[in-house]
Structures are given as structure tokens and as C-alpha cells.
């Protein structure tokens, strides 16, 4: 097998990605379909929230992914800055749009859920607010990638932005907490204190989370490979020009 860094070689990565991708995709589709169907059709309503509790199967996995995708980008950015493995930088680039969509899903499902639960689409609750800020970070990150032609320059700049941004994201989270006490649920995976009720909801929820994670892995493999191919195409065209 050798060291993990071998996969930082684009050729090797493409090869492996090609082999792994179908399986991950099938796994992602299967778990997502099972989890969502289970959650949507075969769970009872919550006694307080009624049927809206079903939204949790989308909302929580998306919210978790939104944060973790950024975290993954932070790690790959550091790897790029320290070891200068192109695949690592491209993986960060590939992950960002997925992260944005996850953030948007969390925001939209949250907003839709908030309407019946809190009587408003949007409140300046700390958790909601920090998600909005995360969304802005994603937008800025993607815009910076788009704005620069030279791929290595873009990789360097976005990597630094990602790191500085992470520090500020943590700061904002603290600031926002200080600024407003919220309406949002605390971070525990149980809706009610009684164990038995929670179980009913939590098994499909775990399946959905697994599905989102698998989907993310599949998408990142696919998109990273796309980015690698785009760069190769660009390099080859440039080479043709040299004659």
C-alpha cells in the first residue's frame, strides 16, 4: 500500500477514485433512500412538533455536513500549504460548492421549520446567525477561486483565506453567542428526554447522516477528479502551443 501521500499524486488519485467511486455512490444512494424513506414514512409524529419533526432527517445531517466540509477544507488547505500536494488543494476547491449547498439546505429547512415552531422564518439566533456567516465564508472562498486564473496562486490564496477565515468563524461564533441568547435547540441528538421516544427518531437520523457523509465523499471524489482533468487539459493545451 505504501504511505497515504502516494494518493496525493494526481494519476494515482484518479485511478483510485475511479475504482472507489461507483461503490461509494451506490452506498450513498442506498443509505440516503433508506434513511429518508424510513424517516418520512415510518416514524411517528412528535407530540409537540407534530409531523414537522420529519424535517430533522434533512436538517441535522445537512447542518453537520456544512460545518464538517469547512473543516475538511481547512485540513486540505493546510496540507497544500505545508506539503504542496495539488490534489489536496483541488479537493478543497471541489468540496466548497458541496459545503455551500449543505449550508443552504440547513438554512432553508431550518427557516421552513421555524415558521410553525417559532412563528417566524428567521430569527437572529446565534446558531442561525453563525450559519449565515459560514455561508458568507463559503461564498467568498468560492468567489476567490473563480477570480484568479493561475491555479497555484489561487490555491495558495484560498488556502490562507480558509485558515484565517476559520479563526474568524470561531470568533464570530463566540461573539454571536454573547450578543444574543437563542431559540434554537441545544446540541444533543435527542428531542425529548425519554429514551424510548428518542430511539424512534434517532435510528433513521443516524442512517441519514451516514447517507449525507457518503454522498459528500462520492461528490468530492468525483469533483476532485474533474478538477484534475481540467488542469491536465489546460496543461496539455499549453503544451501544444509550445509545439
Amino acid at each position: 500500500m505504501g504511505s497515504i501521500w502516494e494518493y496525493a499524486n494526481p494519476v494515482k488519485f484518479n485511478h483510485t477514485a475511479g475504482k472507489v467511486l461507483p461503490w461509494v455512490s451506490i452506498g450513498a444512494t442506498a443509505t440516503l433512500v433508506i434513511g429518508l424513506i424510513w424517516g418520512f414514512f415510518f416514524t411517528p409524529d412528535d407530540y409537540r412538533q407534530g409531523s414537522t419533526v420529519k424535517i430533522i432527517y434533512l436538517h441535522v445531517p445537512a447542518a453537520l455536513m456544512a460545518i464538517n466540509v469547512w473543516f475538511m477544507m481547512l485540513v486540505t488547505s493546510l496540507i497544500w500549504l505545508i506539503r504542496r500536494h495539488h490534489v489536496s488543494a483541488l479537493a478543497a476547491k471541489a468540496a466548497a460548492p458541496v459545503g455551500v449547498i449543505m449550508t443552504v439546505i440547513a438554512l432553508i429547512t431550518g427557516a421552513i421549520w421555524g415558521q410553525p415552531m417559532w412563528g417566524t422564518w428567521w430569527a437572529w439566533d446565534p446558531r442561525l446567525t453563525s450559519f449565515l456567516i459560514l455561508f458568507l465564508f463559503y461564498l467568498g472562498y468560492i468567489a476567490l477561486w473563480e477570480a484568479i486564473d493561475n491555479p497555484d496562486t489561487a490555491a495558495d490564496l484560498t488556502a490562507v483565506l480558509c485558515i484565517v477565515g476559520s479563526v474568524f468563524a470561531v470568533l464570530s461564533r463566540y461573539a454571536v453567542n454573547f450578543w444574543n441568547q437563542g431559540l434554537h435547540q441545544g446540541a444533543s441528538l435527542s428531542l425529548d428526554k425519554e429514551e424510548n421516544v428518542a430511539d424512534v427518531f434517532s435510528t433513521p437520523l443516524y442512517i441519514c447522516i451516514a447517507g449525507f457523509i457518503l454522498l459528500f465523499i462520492a461528490l468530492v471524489f468525483l469533483r476532485t477528479r474533474t478538477e484534475i482533468q481540467k488542469r491536465r487539459t489546460k496543461a496539455l493545451i499549453a503544451r501544444e502551443r509550445l509545439g
Binding site: G50, S51, K54, I55, L58, I101, I105, I112, L215, Q229
Partner: protein
């Protein structure tokens, strides 16, 4: 078939609808970009090899 969602049917359905549309769009967009990149690359490789 659809379970009884009570008075929150709109809420739940629109949340599922919006999320699934976004997820499908993301996947579709990624696949399309992948296909485009592959075709481009093959074109260039062919030109180079033959």
C-alpha cells in the same frame, strides 16, 4: 401512500422538496462538469496521440 402530515403538510413537503431539488441539482451539476471535463481531455489526448 403519503403519510398523514396533519396541518404541517405544507411545511414538511416544502422542506423535503427544496432539499431534494438542491441535492439533485448539485449531483447533476457535478456529473455534467465531470462529463464535460472528460470529453475535453479525451479530445486533447486524441489530438496528441494521433
Amino acid at each position: 401512500m403519503i403519510p398523514d402530515l396533519g396541518k404541517y403538510a405544507d411545511t414538511v413537503l416544502s422542506a423535503y422538496g427544496a432539499s431534494i431539488v438542491l441535492l439533485v441539482a448539485l449531483v447533476w451539476w457535478s456529473l455534467r462538469a465531470a462529463r464535460k471535463a472528460r470529453i475535453e481531455l479525451e479530445k486533447v489526448e486524441d489530438r496528441r496521440n494521433g
